[in-house]
């Protein structure tokens, strides 16, 4: 810097006074200020302005929180930042915040309590009820249970079980033998009272879920069991997905007398995951059906007698014939119901599910990298397209409504925003 040429700018003088010039430049400026009255005057003005500003001193703070901050520092270094924050926050709270926090905590606890207590009570009632029912069933020799899941499965809780008390000693109440129903003897029974006093008719159902290791072998064993016990498969579906366990679902019909033995053999196929048994008592239903059937047959006989012995108008004859055909229809329907009912009693229903214990195959062919990349790219493209299309659909459906709302709210929002910015600038 050339002092004699007076090339210093006021900004450079200011930077010199602030100590922001490099050492060499600072020396040159200092030398110039000693020799130049005008620049010295400028420097004096800067110094004076700074001195005036220094008069704006802030009063000393009360620092009532001095010890608090230092305590917090101690807590931070000792008990960890998180703990210190909690302590600091807690100490900083006013009584209103304490009251709000306590009230909120109590409210949340009450909410949780009120939500959980009814469920607990309900669970206890259900458990008590189940236990009671189980005891009564055990006393009655019931077989309705679920061994693996530990709860009682009730499908027809009233069926067949009460009648066990009326079964003759040694009939089937205390053993696994299925009480065989009246079967074809139904039509020989004179009235329902007599039927009710006979052996009960019970339609048995069993549900079995078994995990097997050798799936093809189990399938063959199943066929053998069915043949051995003279049963058959009412429905069977087989699922053999790739790289996944195979499964078989079958609805079997097994003679009631053979049920226990058949189920015992089915259990040996693999690990029983789930088993439940139930019995529906249909004695009364069967007796009613037989009685109604007998009445209808008698009615039919009487009508036929009328038609043969009496003479009359042709319209009367036609009316009798119509009545005979209606009664005949009823008889046939009831006979079908009776057969179906007796079949349900004679043949127990076994719902069987066989699942393979799957072991992943090392040699299973995995898709190639290029195929997977291609599939991923296609899926990604489809997903992106779906998203874009979804946005377009959303806009098509709600766009106009949103625009209207935006137009309605824009002006107030603008004024509020302007007011907020104004307030912010004034602070």
């Amino acid at each position: 810097m050339n002092a004699t040429a007076h090339t210093l700018t006021p900004e450079e003088i200011m930077a010199f006074l602030d100590g922001e010039l490099p050492a060499l430049d600072a020396q040159a400026v200092a030398a110039h200020l000693e020799s130049c009255a005008a620049c010295s005057r400028v420097a004096g003005q800067f110094r004076q302005a700074s001195q005036e500003l220094k008069s704006w001193a802030a009063a000393g703070p009360a620092f009532s929180w001095d010890a608090f901050v230092l305590r917090a520092a101690g807590a931070t270094s000792g008990g960890g930042i998180r703990g210190a924050n909690a302590k600091m926050l807690a100490r900083n709270w006013t009584w209103k915040q304490w009251a709000l926090a306590s009230g909120g905590t109590v409210a949340v606890l009450l909410l949780v309590w009120s939500a959980s207590v009814p469920n607990l009570l309900r669970s206890r009632r259900v458990a008590d009820g189940s236990l009671h029912w189980l005891r009564s069933e055990q006393a009655a020799g019931s077989k309705s249970f679920d061994e693996t899941e530990g709860y009682i499965r009730v499908e027809q809780p009233t069926a067949g079980l009460k009648l066990n008390t009326r079964i003759e000693p040694g009939a089937a109440a205390d053993s696994n033998e299925i009480p065989h129903g009246a079967g074809s003897a139904g039509d020989q029974v004179e009235d329902s009272d007599q039927i009710a006093s006979a052996a009960p008719m019970i339609a048995r159902t069993v549900s079995l879920s078994i995990v097997v290791k050798d799936f093809p072998g189990s399938r063959a064993s199943l066929d053998a069991i069915l043949a051995r016990h003279r049963g058959y498969s009412a429905q069977l579906s087989l699922s053999t997905p790739e790289n996944a366990p195979r499964s078989l679902q079958a609805s079997l019909r097994i003679p009631s007398a053979e049920l226990s033995a058949a189920v015992a053999e089915l259990r040996t196929l693999g690990r029983v995951e789930n088993e439940s048994q139930a019995g529906e008592e249909v004695t009364q239903q069967h007796a009613d059906l037989v009685a109604r059937l007998q009445n209808s047959r008698e009615t039919e006989q009487r009508l036929r007698g009328i038609l043969q012995e009496r003479t009359g108008k042709i319209t009367d004859v036609l009316q009798v014939e119509n009545e005979i055909s209606r009664v005949r229809g009823d008889i046939e329907r009831m006979e079908a119901d009776q057969k179906e009912l007796e079949h349900r009693v004679d043949f127990a229903s076994v719902e069987l599910q066989l699942s393979e214990e799957y072991k992943a195959q090392l040699n299973s062919p995995a898709p190639s990298v290029s195929t997977r990349l291609h599939n991923a790219a296609v899926a990604g493209l489809r997903s992106a397209w779906e998203m874009v299309f979804g946005i377009v659909l959303f806009l098509a459906e709600y766009g106009l409504t949103l625009l209207i709302w935006a137009a309605i709210l824009a002006l107030p929002a603008f004024f509020v925003w302007r007011r907020f910015k104004g307030k912010l600038a004034s602070l």
């Binding site: 110094r47 802030a58 000393g60 270094s77 210190a84």
Partner: protein
Amino acid sequence: MNESPNAPNKRDPADPPSDEQLMVAFSQGSTEAFGELFARYKQPLFGFYCRRVADPAHAEELTQETFLAVLRAARRYEPRALFRTYLYAIGFKILRAHRRKAAFRLTFLGVAGSREPAVQIANEAEVVLRQAVGKLERMDRQILMLREFEELSYSEIGELLGLPVNTVRSRLFRARMGLRDLLAAPAPKSPAAELTGSEERI
């Protein structure tokens, strides 16, 4: 004007530990180090807030909040910049949050908060000075105050406000010239009555 600003990089080994060393020591568990930092900066930080908010009680709260923020962030502290730049950066963030909250309350709740005079007005000259500073352009005012009161260097101010050093220098010069002109102008008749509004804007 501060003709010999702090030069932390040229510290003699015999000097007391620097702010950065103290902060690192505190982040490693030394409570005494924080005590020293607190003693060094509690008054400057309180002054920083006092000159920017109306109520000294608010200034105290914000000072406390700033130190608590430093405590909370101590484990993450890395001495990449000067501690005081770090401290005032936190101070500016807390100040902005405070102003946003105040503006929100004022806009939506109509709660003005405490608008009592910030400090006891010492004399007429101080009032004139506050008014003059309040009339400067916002960024110029911040630069001037950081230089004059917080005694930050140009580079520190630039780092804090995100400005190049040359811009800081030219704006500081402009602020000083503007302040000189304002102080040279005749004083208003009733400066005390206008003080509340003007000091709110500082």
